[in-house]
Amino acid sequence: MMAERPDATLTEDMFDEPKRSVVATPRARFWLRFRRHRMAMAGLVFLVVVVLLAVAAPWVTQHLPTKIHSGLTRAAPTADHILGGDVAGRDIWSRVVYGGRVSLSVGLVAVSISILIALILGTLSGYYGGAVDMIIMRLTDIMMVFPTLILIMAVVSMLGPSIYNVMAIIGLLGWPSSARLVRGQILSVREWDFVMAARCLGVQDRNIMFKHILPHVLAPLLVAATFGVAGAILTEAGLSFLGLGVLPPTPSWGNMLNGAQSIYILERHWWIWLPPGMAILLTVLAINFVGDGLRDAFDPRMTLD
């Protein structure tokens, strides 16, 4: 392993010999900066645990998330049901774990859709300029005026609530800010000296675009995508909480909180609403910390000492 990645061993030495950081590869410098961000590392570790739990859901739970157990209705936690039962008598621990699958996949799919749209529209806009740029950017301006959640609700009410509709709608309406980011980044990178140098050497326009400019767009876009996943998870939770997203019996962290709308449950049965709420809070917090760490690590102005 080490032999294949000489930069990894170099990273270890750099703490002792700061001069070496000048010669380290960009990847090593990136990883070093990211690791110094303690909250980002903590967030990353937490996310790895959440993802592992979601992937290994059948092995870390004893009960099916949709199975209704007699006598488990609103039952307090026991050794067998470590987080007790919900209003319908289903095991809350397994619903939280399986709900993680839903939340994470909605977040990832929705953001993949919006990042793809943003990349296409932003590149067209930044590359062609002129009328194309004008039309795409005005469309972006208009889309950004709509309060996203209200617009999503309206579309969901027409198409009907389901996990796939929610993924698609969040994704299809979430691109404007990233498209603007891609365009802005292309416009600024286009003016840099190395692009001029490539042009002087006679490199084709298309190659300049894909080989020289786009790589510089990807770093900030990855940061935006990370925050986007957090935002999409929150949106899905909100929609499912309102009954407009993922519908029971399929568990989602948002629809599990639905029961807490009753003051009776809110007051007496904390295990019904606290676990899914904390799951959303901690996961989104962890993703935001990782996003923050990525942004700092990508920023070449951040010094290593």
């Binding site: 909250m39 005026v145 309060p147 209200i150 027409m158 909100g238 609403w273 959303i280």
Partner: protein, 322 residues
């Protein structure tokens, strides 16, 4: 500068037109008979099939979509957004009543988050990387990460149920003589729930912006003049650090409307958010369409206001080129 202001105001109109086109296109796909949306429900119940046909013809509903859009737009600019199916009244009236309930909560939330966000941000920036700074930064991150409705539930649990000092929801307490105090007590918890996210982002913004400004040359100049450190920071640093806050507050408004949807549902508070949730549940498309349009127009106007106050607040900005 006046040319810039004029141009900025004129720019609102094409955006407004775009908003109505997208809004109309989305709702043109909605199922249901559009004729029932445009006629007073009482009259509608008295009409025969021939009357309905005639009404469709008169309203232009047999025309192609672009023509129908123009006819709808002509009505919309006069304030006629059709009739709510669920409330049996004009959409405009329903939205106005809901807005009247939402506004106090939103204004309270904006005030609280601006004051708390900026104050805590300054405290954070004055002692960077201290324990207090870490606590405040975590507080700010949690504000952006916590779902507004979950925070609202926690507030109800702690303040309304356990401490029992504020109501759990509604606009007034049923059975109690309506008074301003009673009305205001119902605004506090939803307002706080709505304010947390904006507080968090303003705190983080103020902190990083102030930290950046502290290294500027004019700060060194101010110190070299022999000014006391807190005068340097508050008078010279803060003024420059806080200018973009106006823009940030303007940009927060769309997500505040989104937050209001969930928080008003939790508090059963009949503002714009709860009305939209009810409209979604009832498939009341005219009401939904009017609500989307109205919130979008409010966002557009507040962005304009933010931009204009920014040009007034920052004398360095000169928009000669526009």
């Amino acid at each position: 500068m006046s040319t810039y202001i004029l141009r900025r105001i004129l720019l609102v109109f094409p955006l407004l037109l775009g908003v109505t086109i997208i809004n109309y296109t989305i709702f043109a796909l909605a199922p249901g008979d559009p004729v029932s949306a445009m006629i007073d429900p009482f009259e509608l119940s008295q009409m025969t099939e021939e009357d309905l046909q005639a009404a469709r013809e008169a309203l232009g509903l047999n025309e192609p979509v672009p023509v129908r859009y123009l006819l709808w737009l002509g009505q919309a600019v006069q304030g006629n957004l059709g009739y709510s199916i669920w409330f049996n009244t004009p959409v405009f009236d329903v939205m106005l009543r809901a807005l009247g309930n939402s506004m106090p909560v939103m204004i309270f939330a904006l005030l609280i988050s601006t004051i708390a966000g900026i104050t805590l941000g300054i405290i954070s920036a004055l002692k960077p990387y201290s324990l207090l700074d870490s606590v405040l930064t975590t507080f700010a991150f949690a504000g952006v990460a916590v779902p507004g409705f979950f925070f609202a539930l926690l507030l109800i649990y702690a303040v309304a149920i356990k401490m029992d000092i504020l109501p759990t929801g509604g606009v007034t307490t049923p059975g109690v003589e309506p008074s301003l105090g009673n009305r205001l007590s119902h605004i506090i918890l939803p307002g706080l729930a709505l304010a947390y996210e904006t507080t968090g982002s303003l705190l983080r913004y103020t902190r990083s912006s102030l930290l950046e400004v502290l290294h500027q040359d004019y700060m060194t100049t101010a110190r070299a003049k022999g000014l006391v450190e807190h005068v340097v920071i508050l008078r010279h640093g803060l003024r420059n650090a806080l200018l973009p806050i106006i823009t940030i507050l303007g940009l927060r408004l769309p997500s505040m409307f989104g937050g209001a949807v969930l928080i008003e549902t939790v508090f059963n508070y009949p503002g714009i958010g709860l009305t939209m949730v009810q409209a979604t549940g009832m498939r009341d498309y005219p009401l939904l369409m009017g609500g989307v349009l109205m919130t979008a127009v409010l966002v557009l106007l507040s962005n304009l206001l933010a931009d204009l106050s920014y040009t007034v607040a920052d004398p360095r900005i000169r928009y000669e080129e526009g």
